[in-house]
């Protein structure tokens, strides 16, 4: 293989691999931080034990994830310099700013307050301790905001000029932070994160229900069942809310994309030639050589509607956009076409995997309608598990019930796949550009890093990340199996300690590593 090509390919593989891996933990961290904070707020306000137990249980799973998210996040910050030094030099002036802001405004929040939250249960007044987890949650939001602003600059450069030395120079920070590309991406990504967190909660609660069903009625712990029930409903609502958010923002992002990156939308649809009205493709097999689809199955007019909210507007096709770019930047038009197969299927995979969980959330919400638990006629003892009802009088057959819980458990990971595919689509659809219209990916790699070094680092990351994945999954399974804990909520608030108040150093800690 051509060395230059191997160079770029290895750098891209490393970026793709480490980023997708890192991004398995990010959506879980973002959503679980907020959900844990919500549960703890419910406990502080109502003092109901089930909220305390839920906080502890989900908080523990959250901590396992955030440890991995933080650790793998380190790589993200440094690999721009390692593998993409030409890129870093070219855009550092613009791209570095949101990255530095992320560290200063978001990372410090997250990492400092996470320590306070973990160890602060018996050190801080209840409300201050609650404030800590909210700070962590706000930190995760801010963090995603700055990263998405930086990424949006790559999708749609804005607020810059090219200086005399050939490097991009920031001219307006607000155009980078608040351009429509950024806003749409933030909304869409956060919504998708909550589908992940919701489905995670639903799946694990479903497992706990399945297991608790095997216990005889009299052995069931009322508070634990109540905790599972609350978690289940919270997860279902979260996934639904995330799903609605993802649909609405997906619509916005699509329309922004048609304007700013027509190639990406055309690639997502396998639309080779400009069409009016443009059809939405359900299935297609295409060929770059022929510049058309060999086989396709379409819904007429839908793509025009999704792009412009009317059924007749023309949507630009792959060949037309590529020819225009080749006249503008030189070279063959084929050079400006991203991998259509990957874009097409990643786009469909994102929607399918994301929406399966949302569909299951809707079904779950209907089947476990709250009324059944509140209405006195249907009120059941604390120890009873949620039934799956079709109507007021009829519940699902035992066989269907068991399978419904199993399916709920299985969908746990689907939105994670959807998220990963969404990122693959976003980044692949931009190729061959690393910064759309300004710099190609081939020009962005470090000129001095050897292929050997790249192979070493890719191998090291593959082995390390693989091993950590095994450890992480086994730990998660262990803690899920352990189920909701027995720990009673603290009976009194920790006393505020002043500099002069007497204190005993050797008093046992409630939490220690």
């Amino acid at each position: 293989m051509d060395l230059a090509l191997a160079h770029e390919t290895l750098a891209r593989w490393q970026f793709g691999f480490t980023t997708v891996y890192h991004y398995l933990f990010v959506p879980l961290t973002i959503s679980l931080a907020a959900l844990t904070a919500g549960l703890q707020t419910a406990w502080v306000r109502t003092e109901k034990e089930k909220y305390f137990r839920a906080t502890k249980f989900w908080g523990k799973l959250f901590l396992i994830n955030i440890a991995m998210g933080v650790a793998t996040g380190l790589v993200q910050e440094f690999q721009f310099g390692m593998n993409w030094s030409a890129y870093s030099k070219f855009v550092g002036d613009v791209f570095g700013a949101p990255l530095a802001m992320e560290a200063l405004l978001a990372f410090f929040f997250e990492s400092t307050f996470i320590g306070l939250w973990i160890f602060g249960w018996d050190r801080l007044p209840r409300k201050v301790h609650l404030g800590c987890i909210w700070m962590v949650s706000i930190g995760t939001f801010l963090s995603s905001y700055f990263i998405l602003a930086a990424n949006s600059f790559m999708q749609h450069p804005n607020g810059y000029r090219i200086a005399a030395n050939g490097r991009a120079q920031l001219t307006s920070i607000s155009k980078v932070l608040f351009q429509d590309t950024t806003l749409a991406a933030v909304f869409h990504t956060l919504a998708a994160c909550f589908i992940v967190g919701g489905a995670f909660m639903v799946g694990i609660s479903a497992y706990l229900v399945l297991r608790a069903r095997r216990q005889p009625l009299e052995e069931r712990d009322g508070t634990k069942i109540a905790t599972i029930r609350t978690s289940l409903r919270l997860g279902l609502w979260t996934a639904l809310a995330g799903g609605i958010g993802a649909l609405l923002s997906g619509d916005t992002i699509g329309r922004v994309m048609v304007q700013q990156q027509p190639m990406k939308m055309a690639a997502a649809e396998g639309l080779w030639h400009t069409a009016a009205p443009a059809p939405f493709s359900l299935f297609a097999i295409g060929s770059l050589h022929q510049g058309r689809n060999v086989f396709e199955f379409n819904i007429p007019g839908l793509l025009s509607f999704l792009s412009y909210h009317d059924f007749h507007s023309p949507v630009r096709g792959i060949v037309d956009v590529a020819r225009q770019e080749s006249t503008q930047f030189g070279g063959e038009w084929q050079h400006y076409v991203p991998d259509i197969f990957e874009s097409f299927w990643a786009y469909r995979g994102m929607i399918t995997f994301g929406m399966i969980s949302v569909a299951i959330a809707v079904a779950g919400l209907w089947l476990t309608r709250q009324k059944r638990w509140i209405d006195p006629r249907f009120r059941r003892p604390e120890t009873e598990l949620p039934l799956l009802m079709l109507t007021r009088e009829r519940e699902l057959s035992p066989f269907l019930t068991t399978w419904a819980w199993r399916i709920a458990l299985l969908t746990l990971g689907f939105p994670l796949i959807g998220n990963a595919l969404g990122w693959l689509f976003t980044e692949m659809g931009r190729q061959p550009w690393v910064v759309y219209g300004l710099m190609t990916t081939a020009d962005a790699v470090s000129p001095n890093v050897s292929v050997t070094e790249q192979i070493i680092s890719l191998g090291v990351f593959a082995v390390l990340y693989g091993a950590l994945a095994v450890v992480e999954v086994r730990l998660l399974i262990k803690y899920v199996r352990k189920g909701i804990g027995d720990e009673p909520p603290p009976s009194h608030e920790p006393l505020p300690r002043g500099p002069l108040s007497p204190e005993s150093d050797d008093e046992p800690l409630t939490f220690a590593y």
Binding site: A67, S88, A103, F119, A512, Y513
Partner: protein
């Protein structure tokens, strides 16, 4: 003062802060492997830094981000040039980060021992490698006219850099021992104090040699044009050595607070000295001085620096305030009886 100089100062402060804070938690990580006798003692040591290590590490991320934003060329050349060394550092920091969180998540003895070994080895390696990296930065590396590092991995291994590595390794271990002496109770406290005296003694020899070598090489005749001259770095050198010796004396007198404060001053002065002898270069070229990266040719434009200055001026006091508060909340000493089963 020009904004580029200001940002050089900011980045120097971020690295100083990073080494001051993460320095002692590297040291504690090393002590877990050599000083603690049993499981509970190891846990006492780990818990002295448990609530704060994550916040400490963000100083590194901020230094990295600030370098990217303020000196993109420095960021790009440095991290692509030190590729494999940085890879090892990253791997260590990843393993170290999960080791804290995962160690206690299962009760098996082998499981916990493995994570403790991981914590020890990674803390040790990183403490060593940062010294190697900074020694190379100060000494200069093979940078060509296109701002590209053209040396290889083995060019980074040389006598001066190795001395730098051993200096930071022992300095951080000493700093960690001083911190642990301040934060623990009982027999473990006596043992870390002894470790402090021992590592402090070795540090005094290594650090003096390394800093004097730096001063002779960089401070006297070889000051880059526009540099500060050798006076400032000499002052920092003297402060570092005096602080180190006093820290040792206080450790002997069992004045833990003073000893830790002064080991901190040593770290601050030593790192400050490296940056003082570096200025106005950010990465000197050993091939031709005119190819060196400097604060002016490696920096971002004025607008970015202005934006970043505003953000830094608003946020830094806030960050410092809540990080200080964390140390205040967890200010108590812990002993073996504080560790729950």
């Amino acid at each position: 003062m020009h904004l580029t100089d200001f940002w050089f100062l900011v980045i120097a402060i971020l690295w100083i802060g990073y080494f001051f804070l993460e320095g002692f938690d590297f040291g504690v990580g090393i002590l877990v492997g050599v000083v603690a006798r049993d499981d509970r003692e190891r846990r006492v040591l780990i818990n002295t830094i448990g609530p704060v290590w994550d916040g400490n590490e963000v100083w590194l991320l901020t230094a990295g981000g600030a370098t990217f934003a303020a000196f993109p060329v420095w960021y790009a050349t440095l991290f692509s040039g030190f590729y494999l060394a940085l890879l090892v550092i990253l791997v260590c920091l990843i393993v170290r980060g999960v080791a804290f969180e995962f160690r206690g998540k299962r009760s098996g003895r082998r499981w916990q021992r493995n994570w403790e070994h991981a914590l020890f080895v990674t803390s040790l390696l990183v403490a060593f490698l940062w010294g190697v990296a900074f020694a190379n930065i100060v000494r200069g590396v093979k940078i060509d006219a296109d701002e590209v590092y053209v040396g290889g991995f083995w060019d980074l291994i040389n006598g001066y850099a190795l001395l730098g590595g051993f200096t930071t390794l022992f300095l951080f271990t000493f700093h960690g021992a001083a911190f642990a002496a301040l934060k623990t109770l009982g027999p473990i406290r006596a043992r870390v104090r002894r470790a402090a005296l021992l590592t402090g003694g070795v540090t005094a020899v290594l650090a003096s040699a390394f800093l004097i070598w730096t001063q002779v090489d960089q401070g006297l005749g070889a000051t880059p044009p526009g540099g500060l001259g050798g006076g400032w770095s000499l002052a920092a050198l003297i402060i570092a050595v005096v602080a180190l010796v006093s820290a040792l004396a206080f450790a002997r007198l069992q004045r833990d607070g003073w000893s830790f404060a002064l080991s901190g001053v040593t770290v601050v002065a030593a790192v400050a000295m490296l940056f003082l002898s570096l200025y106005p270069d950010v990465l000197p070229s050993s091939l031709d001085p005119s190819w060196s990266l400097t604060v002016s040719n490696a920096s971002s434009a004025n607008y970015t620096l202005t934006v970043m200055t505003i953000v830094a001026c608003v946020m830094t006091p806030v960050v410092l305030a809540y990080q200080a508060w964390t140390y205040w909340v967890f200010r108590r000493r812990i002993g073996v009886s504080a560790i729950p089963q």
